[in-house]
Symmetry: C2
Subunit: 131 residues, 2 copies
């Protein structure tokens, strides 16, 4: 199956895509900007800059850091941070569902495409198409 990657461009010139959203999720999961950066295979500085860009875009923080400084761990998402992550993931799911059939039109034309066929029993099986 093909996969939709969604980036949202806002009127103020800022953008939200899979990278920033995954970073926020990793901050929530690990409780640390440093660990989230490692999970993203990016430098701490880059992760911090991405979070700063988000804060500038939304006008308030999406991540809270405990006393001791940003490098000290103890990071968590603010209510806005959770809203942004949840809404983005929901947009992703909703969009993918809405365009599933059209996406299949393209998937089936791509070289090495696999088609998912539904057997009478309701299970799925995948086979290689020689197109």
């Amino acid at each position: 199956m093909a996969r939709l990657m969604i980036r949202i461009g806002f009127d103020n010139g800022s953008a939200l895509g899979p990278g920033k959203v995954r970073l926020l999720e990793l901050v929530a999961e690990t409780g640390s900007i440093r660990k989230a950066a490692i999970g993203m295979k990016m430098s701490y500085r880059r992760a911090w800059l991405l979070l700063q860009a988000l804060e500038a875009a939304f006008g308030e923080p999406l991540v809270l850091t405990a006393t001791g400084g940003r490098a000290g761990g103890g990071a968590s998402l603010t209510a806005l941070g959770r809203l942004v992550v949840d809404t983005y993931r929901s947009i992703e799911t909703g969009a993918a569902k809405a365009v599933e059939k059209k996406l299949n039109i393209l998937s089936l034309r791509v070289r090495g495409a696999r088609v998912t066929s539904r057997s009478p029993g309701g299970t799925h099986r995948r086979r290689k198409l020689s197109i």
Copy 2:
């Protein structure tokens, strides 16, 4: 309003996004890879490489060039090229429509957001939100 930018990632590792699709549209509009490249503010070489990547992904050409060589103009889309452009644009429209309300949740939280309100008369007016 926020704007969805969609990139489609296929199983074979290739991807289709707004850049390649716009390039194909410009080839169709101008009848020339060279003019399409100028319209995209990219080099002829880069445009040609993008079209080659598309051909590799789909296993057949999306652009036909007249005798005289690729630089000689006379380029047009193949049926597959038109299918890819039309399906992508249709995916874009379908996805945007499906997630319009959720997109608004984010748009309204972005700094400098504008909200479109519907007056009783059915016309739209835009105002700045001071969030």
